[in-house]
Homo-oligomer: 472 residues x 2
């Protein structure tokens, strides 16, 4: 192969460019590079189907025995990297819009006959065991391009509204809201943990001079920035050391947490609804081929559902009203509901799919089942919280207005057995120019699952981390 | 204060909107919300200077004794949150373009007379001790808005070119390139580490069933995706447990790592140059007030330097040529150079500032001082690596073409005492359709320092993590 400096490199035409602007290239001589999906040949000519990874559809190459390496080409294994020069020709009678009539087919890098991704369809489970190769398959080409577009759409949405993107820290010395089990971070020698005279771990010798963990939420840090910039968002990794082996839980995942000041729960819901609609429209517009694929092969009805969501006014119901509705249908549920209980996925889906038939915000939950920082309502029983439920999945966003009253917050922290000193910075926000503010959290992977119809969180994360699994 | 549902919230006009589209608001009655920077009053009228965090410039409010709470307003402490309704009036003779003549000034949240951010100027060091309040100051308003814009500009650059954004994992089971000291991640009880019969840590009981660390680079994972999508980039947190207490090192920082297939070192340099110029132009266009501030108060000459970089063709020099140049000037350096040595910041800055007087790529370094995955050149002595040096800072980007030949890579791994089994996935990329490819790494914080002129990495990270420091 050798190091052919400056020879072709980025002067290759990308397959995406061919499909998006074919008029510019039809009848012209071009060079493309990519990976062989299949080769079939007759005595005098053959076809290569290749993908260069820039576009969901493949490109067909026709080659003939006029090429000196005709016999060699016909033996290319699936997965081989090739560089092809030839003329782009329209094929009005074929399934594909055009093909390349090759004048030169060079082998960039060979593949082997035991290449694990043969033309036949592989199960998602089979592919999960080869995280480094699965992005070369149709399904994962679609998933991970959409994942990328969703991430960008979220940034674009917030940046167009002048929100400040804040990188909240990953390593943290506090356990924040005390949510979930946490991963410890340390540089101590695990084989020989230094101890104090009292026999406890001597964290003075650790990197940060104290016990540290991986963050479970950037919210509290985010609030400090909302009280400076008014509107901010975070978008970063978050961790849970929960021993739950489900299709919806990962130990490492990404979260988006906007926080808005001089804003209340209503504003928070307007923001969440706008964001979700924006993201749906963005992927439908920018990944039509991928979305068609999901609709046909992964989740029939996906496109209709998403279009419906993008064009509906979301519903609103209080928790108390929701419980009244659900109680009338308790015979349908495994877990019977009553006021004060947490909603299960079956209840959430019933509300959004059977009752509202569209996304619905459930608001004003009992204070006992929600976090300490949520704003107490005037009824003294409920808090200004909201969950957004969507058809096909249940809860996708959870948010709240935050308690901005110093005294009420201190009282609540005492009730919740939180150590006031750990939250000095958080209380300062209520001491120095407190302002009503609100925010929400969107689990990024849940969002990608929702938009693609993929059913297992392991299949929407490039290199998933779950209990007992930390490959590559 | 109370929970005034739906009362104003996001219907407030943002100060940014007033400055950017003042014609729409002049003469009209509007409501704004923000934080008091200063109040001064006479017997019959007074001025509030406020910021709502959406714009670098402050807004002036005039209030008179016609307001029933005139006396109260005059006693507002710095930092108070206020909601003001009034008419926006042009002030052609004043420094600021307009002011609000208030009809109502409501206290949203009081501040105290001991509010730590008084009007006087505070040192960066003083402010470092209050990470939750410093974003309310001019300097940090500018830094963290620019940081947000730089992050977005980077995404925009790559997305406009159809690169796929890949989230490479944070928790990793391998030590990748063996670079730097790593943080361990564990759920084992540090007070009571379980041991095997042989007396070693029993990682079977740990969350992932094996030792895990925080990533130092997403590159190797990124390469697997470049071999599927052609062009990808990562943008995520990276960690170093290095015990170095400098102004340029943090334990947790963000990195951008693009990787391009069917591309060589030349393409890599074109990409790096385009990206850096794009980002510079983006911040100059989108944060002119902030950039002026840096130029005036943080780093005089910054704007000129950046404009020069945005409009220069970057220089190119091989390491070997660079050494020849530097050797002639060895009397100027603390560390004398000779072929084979690593370049220090003094050498890098001399090259870019004295010799080239613009950014310059140094290429083709001795293989001994570079990483195992870099492509061996035909001379068998150097590798296809590049560092981009920029005036005022030295190295800002480091990249290389990757070794894409299976046998050469295996040989190099043996030389480097790497365990081949740990890199099966990486070798697979050279076995199944290998293609020339290249990439680089940009330290995000270094980039923000470069663009703002800020001299300490602790001042461009919202919540910095350094040795012995993991606050909030």
């Amino acid at each position: 192969m050798g190091y052919r400096k400056g020879e072709i490199g980025m002067e290759l035409v990308q397959v995406r460019e061919l499909f998006r602007n074919k008029e510019q290239y039809l009848g012209k001589k071009i060079t493309v590079g990519g990976w062989v999906r299949s080769v079939r040949d007759t005595k005098t000519f053959g076809f290569i189907v290749m993908s260069d990874g820039t576009f969901f559809e493949t490109l067909q190459i026709v080659y003939t025995d006029k090429l000196s390496n005709f016999a060699e080409i016909s033996k290319f294994n699936v997965g081989s990297a090739v560089v092809v020069t030839g003329t782009l020709v329209a094929t009005p009678d074929a399934k594909q819009p055009f093909e390349i009539q090759a004048e030169e087919v060079l082998l960039e890098g060979a593949s082997t006959s035991d290449y694990p991704l043969q033309k036949k369809r592989h199960s998602l489970e089979f592919l999960r065991a080869m995280t480094h190769l699965r992005p070369r398959t149709n399904t994962f080409q679609a998933v991970f391009r959409v994942r990328s577009l969703v991430a960008y759409a979220i940034h674009k949405f917030f940046q167009e509204r002048d929100f400040v993107y804040v990188h909240t820290p990953l390593i943290t010395g506090s356990d924040c809201e005390g949510a979930g089990e946490m991963f410890q971070v340390t540089t101590l020698d695990l084989n020989n943990i230094p101890k104090t005279k009292e026999g406890q771990v001597d964290f003075d010798q650790d990197f940060f001079n104290k016990p540290t963990n991986l963050t479970v939420s950037g919210q509290l840090n985010g609030e400090t920035y909302a009280m400076a910039f008014k509107n901010i968002y975070t978008f970063g990794p978050t961790f849970r050391a929960e021993n739950s082996n489900t299709t919806r839980h990962a130990a490492e995942f990404w979260m988006i947490e906007p926080e808005i000041a001089f804003a209340d729960l209503k504003d928070d819901m307007i923001l969440a609804e706008s964001m979700l609609k924006y993201v749906i429209k963005y992927v439908l517009e920018h990944a039509p081929e991928e979305m068609e694929f999901f609709n046909s092969f992964v989740d029939q009805g996906l496109l209709e559902r998403l279009q419906h969501v993008a064009n509906s006014d979301f519903g609103h119901v209080t928790y108390t009203e929701a419980i009244e509705i659900l109680e009338k249908n308790n015979d349908k549920f495994e877990y019977k509901v009553s006021w004060g209980c947490d909603l299960q996925t079956e209840h959430e889906r019933f509300l959004t799919e059977q009752i509202f038939k569209k996304p619905v915000f459930v608001t004003d939950y009992p204070k006992e089942i929600k976090a300490f920082y949520m704003k107490l309502n005037e009824d003294n029983k409920t808090v200004a919280a909201m969950d957004l439920l969507v058809p096909g999945i249940g809860e996708i966003i959870g948010g709240s207005q935050r308690e901005d009253d110093y005294d009420k917050l201190v009282a609540k922290m005492k009730e919740s057995d939180l150590n006031e000193e750990d939250y000095d910075f958080y209380l300062d926000l209520r001491k120095y120019g407190s302002a009503r503010h609100a925010g929400f959290g969107l689990g990024f992977e849940r969002c990608v699952m929702y938009l693609t119809g993929m059913g297992n969180i392991r299949d929407v994360i490039p290199f998933p981390r779950t209990v007992n699994n930390c490959d590559l």
